[in-house]
């Protein structure tokens, strides 16, 4: 037998199975358990949200004089006299979100097309950080901006008698500005994922840059862009501080048939309190647990949660469809 290097162990002989047996590694197990718990906290958070919002909403609907039907059909929200119709709040939320979308969607998409299809590397490298800064500014600052800049601007253009100090238009425009970066970055990602071969095919047929971008690239990225739009709507619906500061501090109750549809109910230049704005105002004051006010904001919160959740799920469906095509 050859001389054995002292560091090389003997080979070939049978060794006891116990040498290879799994050692109890308590540390590893404990760590893995801890890490699993960390992951599970997210589940607990969701359960917590659903349970707490659901419980308080349940209590709310169990109170005397409150009914699910009146909640979903009522056009007046006046807790003091027992009127709990959600429509004034929902309409205000829809108003600000609509205005925000009118601003954010075209601007965000056009920005994305420019950045993805036209901009030089240098332009992209300057513009994207600016958009990131825009996305990083706290919403309370945007609220300040809406109240002290956008509202005076609107009033000086349209007249003080048309535009009230608090109004959904100004809040909506600023919410739109703050979600431009969201729309543009998600849309740009979608445009970016469209394979170059498609662009080359279009150019090869004699299409101009514009025709390639708008008729080939954008349609190919449509589900990704739709996902961006839907997320943006969800973000606008849930946005709080801007509307709490600039949209109005009281529900805009209305009576169908008595108040004009466009002169009052859907007029963006008058004050209206959104769902989020209402929650902030009520909870910012002195709020005693088990009061109907306390329960009612949870009912609003539950509705808000379900709305945004549905939008986010829809958006992810679109993203998944988009990925299926290009990845």
């Amino acid at each position: 037998m050859a001389t054995r290097n002292p560091t090389a162990p003997l080979t070939g002989e049978r060794i006891e199975q116990s040498e290879l047996r799994k050692k109890p590694r308590v540390g590893e197990t404990v760590i893995q358990g801890f890490l699993f718990l960390c992951g599970a906290i997210s589940i607990l958070t969701t359960i917590g949200i659903v349970y707490e919002l659901g419980k308080e909403a349940w209590l709310f609907f169990g109170k005397e004089g409150v009914s699910l039907l009146a909640f979903f059909t009522g056009t007046e929200w006046q807790p003091a006299i027992g009127n709990f119709g959600i429509w004034p709040l929902v309409l205000a939320t829809l108003m600000t979100s609509l205005v925000a979308m009118v601003v954010a969607l075209p601007v965000g998409l056009a920005t994305a097309v420019y950045l993805s299809e036209y901009a030089s590397d240098r332009a992209r490298n300057t513009l994207k950080p600016i958009l990131e800064v825009l996305a990083g500014i706290p919403t309370v600052v945007y609220g300040y901006f809406a109240l002290t800049f956008m509202t005076p601007l609107l009033r000086s253009i349209l007249g003080d008698n048309v535009v009230q100090i608090f109004n959904t238009a100004s809040a909506g425009i600023v919410v739109g500005i703050l979600i431009i970066p969201l729309v543009s970055s998600m849309s740009e990602d979608a445009l970016h994922a469209v394979p170059n071969s498609l662009r080359e095919a279009a150019f090869g047929l004699g299409a101009t840059k514009l025709e390639t971008s708008l008729k080939v690239v954008v349609p190919s990225a449509l589900s990704g862009i739709t996902a961006a739009f839907v997320v943006a709507i969800s973000r606008a619906v849930g946005e709080t501080m801007v509307v709490a500061i600039a949209a109005g501090a009281g529900p805009k109750n209305f009576i169908i048939g008595e108040d004009g549809l466009f002169s009052f109910i859907l007029n963006p230049f008058v004050a209206a309190e959104t769902m989020t704005g209402h929650i902030v105002r009520i909870s910012g004051g002195d709020l005693s647990y088990d009061s109907i006010d306390y329960n009612s904001i949870f009912a609003i919160g539950l509705l808000l949660f379900l709305m945004t959740l549905a939008l986010n799920i829809v958006s992810r469906r679109f993203v998944a469809r988009f990925r299926e095509v290009y990845e």
Binding site: T7, A8, T11, G12, Q17, L20
Partner: protein, 258 residues
């Protein structure tokens, strides 16, 4: 096969599945102790998969599943109670691309020993491992520099030194020179020859010249029409290359396919 008759590791009726795809089927092979065995074959024939089955690296692929037995010193390493961590300490591996840790050269070598509870003199172990890997003279003055500061060939020798430091019995090498230039490749081949005095080496290679030049035994793998890899022929290297028994082997080593 070996004149000492010592077998380092043996596969019996081994199948490897990735989810429902059978990547490798019916492997029966014995690897002699302190010899170099080369695994060759066309791309996708499962030679890397076979190699990784010998130290349970396939465990890291979630969908991978090994059937049959892999006997190491009389124990099936896929036995119920066997600890893969223990197996990998005894059966080390060198990978296709050099993959040093983002640590100093010294720490790269010392780390494996440290986590395995090495109690001896660490400086000596690092030096002897680097010497065995023929790297000591090049790095002895810069042991505290990052492993990434080395050239590709040096990095691969560092990875070999790192493997030696935990004193395995078997070293699995998965195309260890495929990412290196010819000069660096030559150094590694020489090194492998040195190492066989102390270690059983199983090496996957794409390069037939390498197999012919550097190994004692060669196993030729191919895949069937379902793309499942299987062992075609296994023999002493000089026999396999000069007098292949199987027609497919002959076609392959003469470059007619693969």
């Amino acid at each position: 096969m070996n004149k000492n008759g010592e077998i380092a590791i043996e596969a019996r009726e081994m199948d490897v599945y990735y989810a429902h795809f059978r990547a490798v089927k019916g492997i029966n092979i014995k690897f002699p102790t302190r010899k170099i065995t080369a695994l060759i074959g066309p791309s996708g024939c499962g030679k890397s998969t076979v190699l990784r089955s010998f130290n349970r690296m396939n465990d890291l692929v979630l969908v991978a599943r090994v059937q049959g037995e892999v006997l190491y010193r009389g124990n099936n390493i896929y036995g119920k109670d066997v600890d893969p961590v223990e197996i990998r300490r005894r059966i080390g591996m060198v990978f296709q691309k050099p993959n040093p840790f983002a640590k100093s050269i010294y720490e790269n070598v010392a780390w494996g020993a440290r986590i395995n509870g090495y109690k001896g003199n660490m400086d000596e172990l690092v030096e002897s491992s680097l010497r065995q890997a023929a790297l000591w003279d090049e790095v002895k003055d810069k042991l505290s520099q990052s492993g990434y500061s080395l050239s590709g060939g040096q990095q691969q020798r560092l990875c070999i030194a790192r493997t030696i430091a935990v004193k395995p019995e078997i070293i699995l090498m998965d195309e260890p020179t495929s990412a290196l230039d010819p000069v660096a490749t030559l150094r590694i081949e020489e090194l492998i020859q040195e190492l066989k005095q102390n270690y059983t080496i199983i090496i996957v290679t794409h390069n037939m010249q390498q197999a012919a030049r550097a190994s004692d035994y060669t196993a030729f793998f191919n895949m069937d029409e379902d793309r499942a890899g299987y062992l075609v022929e296994y023999n002493a290297t000089n026999m396999l290359f000069t007098n292949p028994q199987n027609e497919m082997t002959e076609q392959y080593i003469t470059g007619r396919f693969g």
